[in-house]
Subunit: 584 residues, 2 copies
């Protein structure tokens, strides 16, 4: 597979930042790494909880993956690690697989991360990143909103200290309502205070701080609010020994670094995890590349989508081999990394070292961290992903896109995340085909005295009953030729007897696929039978080049004119004037 070597080599040799690395970059990267490390510790623990795994796995998933991404990824500032939605997807997939296989969640999570990592690597090597384009914005919004709601409801278990078992939103809401009397008040107190603190830290705190320091600094301080909440939580629990009162805490976390191991990749296991792994890969990639691109644009840097896939693939493989679970580039931590001044991917390596140090020596301090605080951290993070404006905006702009959004949202909430994503993708594609299946067309005529051609229904233009000029505002492909067929047929039927020339004005046609080409030849043949000549005008260069490959012009009964004006001159004016000016 020489392609693999080349791709990996290109990806690595793009690492020009290493050559220019100097003490200034080093200092910037060290500062950013320290801030991100502080942020990642509670996030790692929280997302491990969300993924249904022991807390230390969240730390492990934030060590080697960061190094792997730094080696192959193309973003200078993306911070990789566990994120909420991917953790939820992982938890769901692993739950299902556990019921089938009976294997433990930890090894299943590692296998899942490895499979989705390998998928990303394959997509990167074979340049298949475009597959992620299937996830349109409405689908992603619908999905993130619904997943956010599912995650938030799930966290009420930790925040209120009650039992919420349920496979989807309906059943878990019912379970919650049934258990509402069993709320554990000390836990709920901590949880609600933590939520209040985290919300206060999002807006009011930076506003307050901005009087004393730079706005960027103020925002960064607010971003490490979860750490502060965790520290306060630990102190409060420790002071009043609340863990003995039933407040659930993280408990003992084994100190040290994870051992390396190869995850279970039996063929049967691969097959059962593959669909979920594919969805995780695609969603992880989309989430990550949006962040990477946004940040790269701010510094006029380049993102290479295929290198991103390689970087994320390597990160997931590294997570799988080092006791972690599925990871991707996270929005908030990347922004913090960027704002804190990270200059190169070396910041990621330093962050990994920071987390490794924490795993070795800080874990005893985390034992008393209340789960309610972690739940609050997750809840506030995912609720911030929900953007009602996006719904009203999409509704206003396109009812079709809104429909795809609502389909995704509803199916994620009522059936499952995977089903929702698949339904959303299918809906997007079908709606796009429906839209392009009825291309906008207009019969055009020249505006007197100009070379401009306009829709005869909208403008006062010259007409000539021997000629119909039809402008087609869409590429011609299998999805819309039958509609066009019908339309041309109608035009011919309603201009019977006098019609001699049909001109297809191709200024809006960017591509003609083979289905459409055969239809054009078919039109040409049928029109010829009726004594009507078919012409084309304003055919774009690439389209014409391709038509020449099959000697299209030789078969066309009429000509291909460079401009619509030339066509009109040749057919309506020069030959035998017949134009009726719009005044008649």
């Amino acid at each position: 597979m020489p392609q693999l070597h080349t791709t990996l080599w290109r990806s690595w040799s793009a690492r020009i930042w290493l050559q220019d690395y100097n003490s200034k970059s080093l200092q910037a990267d060290l500062v950013a790494a320290m801030i991100v490390t502080m942020m990642l510790i509670p996030q790692g623990l929280a997302y491990a909880m969300l993924a249904g795994l022991p807390p230390e796995t969240g730390l492990y998933a934030s060590i080697l993956p960061l190094v792997a991404y730094a080696l192959l990824g193309s973003s200078h500032t993306l911070a990789v690690g566990p994120v909420a939605i991917i953790s939820l997807l992982s938890a769901n997939a692993v739950n299902m697989a556990q019921q089938q296989t009976g294997l433990d969640v930890m090894s299943l999570s590692m296998s899942l991360a490895m499979i989705s990592g390998l998928l990303m690597l394959l997509m990167g090597i074979f340049k298949l990143g475009f597959i992620a384009n299937l996830l349109s914005r409405p689908v992603i919004t619908g999905f993130i909103t619904a997943a956010g709601i599912v995650i938030a409801v799930g966290q009420l278990e930790h925040i209120l200290g009650i039992d919420i078992a349920g496979s989807n939103l309906l059943t878990s809401s019912q379970a919650m309502l049934a258990n509402i009397d069993n709320i554990h008040w000390p836990t709920a107190g901590i949880g609600c205070l933590a939520i209040g603190f985290l919300y206060w830290a999002r807006k009011p705190l930076p506003n307050l701080l901005s009087h004393y320091c730079r706005p960027n600094m103020a925002h960064n301080i607010s971003k490490i609010a979860p750490v502060s909440a965790a520290i306060i939580g630990i102190l409060v629990v420790g002071k009043w020994q609340l863990d003995t009162l039933g407040v659930k805490v993280v408990g003992d976390i084994p100190a040290g670094l994870p051992g390396l191991q190869w995850p279970n990749l039996e063929p049967e296991l691969i097959i059962s995890l593959l669909p979920s792994a594919l969805i995780i890969s695609l969603i992880g990639y989309v989430e990550s590349i949006s962040v990477a691109q946004t940040l790269a644009n701010k510094r006029r840097q380049q993102i290479n989508p295929n290198h991103e896939l390689l970087g994320l693939g390597a990160a997931n493989a590294a997570a799988a081999m080092s006791g972690g679970f599925s990871v991707t580039g996270g929005f908030s931590r990347s922004v913090v990394n960027f704002d804190a001044g990270a200059a190169t991917p070396m910041a990621g390596v330093f962050t990994a070292i920071g987390i490794a140090i924490a795993s070795c020596w800080l874990t005893p301090l985390l034992a008393l961290l209340p789960k309610a605080v972690l739940g609050a951290t997750i809840l506030v993070a995912v609720l911030s992903l929900i953007d009602p404006h996006e719904f009203s905006f999409t509704w206003k702009y396109s009812k079709q896109d809104f429909m795809a959004m609502i389909i995704t949202l509803a199916i994620v909430l009522l059936v499952s995340i995977e089903a929702g994503v698949i339904a959303g993708v299918v809906a997007s594609v079908v709606l796009m085909l429906w839209r392009t299946s009825r291309p906008h067309t207009a019969i055009v005529g020249p505006i007197s005295g100009t070379e401009h051609f306009r829709n005869i229904d909208r403008h006062q233009v010259e007409q000539c009953d021997r000629i119909v000029a039809l402008r087609i505002d869409e590429s011609l492909f299998f999805g819309n030729v039958r509609y066009l067929d019908n339309q041309i047929n109608q035009i011919v039927a309603s201009n019977e007897k006098r019609l001699q020339h049909l001109i297809l004005m191709a200024s809006g046609i960017n591509h003609i696929d083979s289905t459409a080409l055969e239809k054009l030849l078919d039109f040409n043949r049928r029109l010829k039978d009726k004594g009507i000549t078919m012409h084309m005008s304003e055919v774009k260069g690439p389209v014409l080049d391709r038509l020449q490959q099959v000697k299209f012009t030789g078969q066309l009964t009429g000509n291909i004119y460079l401009s619509q004006h030339q066509a009109w001159q040749a057919l309506a004016v020069d030959h035998a004037p017949c134009c009726s000016s719009p005044d008649h």
Copy 2:
């Protein structure tokens, strides 16, 4: 459901031909009906054999369905009945369902016809005919070719008198080779002579006849060659009592008309037949409407795709209730009907009467019809569907479309028809997304002294380092915005510092979906951060109307110019001239 009433009423009230019906139309329809009846008798028997059903069902499927289509369909000349490919699809689906349910093939075939009829009616009522657009030409060609091969190989069983059991091409070819020694020579003699005769009747015969009569007449005579072959076959078998030598014949066919009954529509049966029924509906519809449209165009008549669905749906429902199986509009019989002068759908009604008469009184004559002749009829008919030119043409025009064709062909041959069609549709859609995922774009500049803007890489144009004008030759949608994002980013990165204005020339943009719109707003915001103003030019009317709904122009940092020339004038010339002519 008032919509249903309206649709059905419109469909019926479009039957204006009834008002103009006169003795001339009557005569024309009667002649055409006689010829088509003769043609349909052996075809009906043959396709019933192909569908794995008793011969009389082929006749039954050619009575009521023709009347039902005449009531609701929109084509004046389409001849509905059993066709080869749909019969094969029906046989396959029924075989599978029989293994699951244990019901008999006859009642399963009727249920299948009813379900696909109802699907067509629903698609017609809800105007969902566009779904059939998913079947691109390469997919249909690949599918028809492969199905033709499968059918042809299957007919060798009847033509050679050997046993060919097998679920796909590989297994049935193996079975044939294993049984090659058991060829029944009298059967094979009849079969091969019939094939020879039918091929002779296709080309040499009409050429010969055209010396004596009109070419159309000559072709129509050649079209009833299968009837002649059947008659000769019956006479030969009768004369030498070949049936006693082991030549398989059709055998006794019950005389009379079928009783009406409602097919079995238990929910479980519906669910198991639904996927096959959907594929049958779509393929039947596509096959039928292509024929209908071709013929309607020749007489400048109109085809309404949704009325076609209603007509075909009603025809299938009628087939299901009268002991028939899945039907659709057939190519050769419709052409014969058309060429023989059928003036109105009344010809179909007369044909139905003709077949009904045959069912009542001609069946005793058919008992000695050798199955080898029917097999030969089918073989010659399906081999004529295979068009090698289509393959070389598609290869030359588009490698992508060729790939979709080969994928469909291979999977139909090696796996199953349904899997092949689904794989082909998925391949078409993915290839289309891949193609549109990398839209053609060009940086353009004005040709000195003109209002024309051309690609700076291909033409000598003026340039201005403060301005980049990017022409995008594709609609913007979820499938291509990420690529565009990357591209704009590259342009901005490579024109650092001097760039002040980016103009998106939208002459090739026919639609902007909500994913793309948000990306445009995102570009606008990011460019603003870098002090670059974003403009648009030549935005089409419908696109602009939609953008106004969400107040896009208010958010755009720059302006929307009617023409690229105006944009250039305003930004490059009027403001502070900076153009470098191409000579510098």
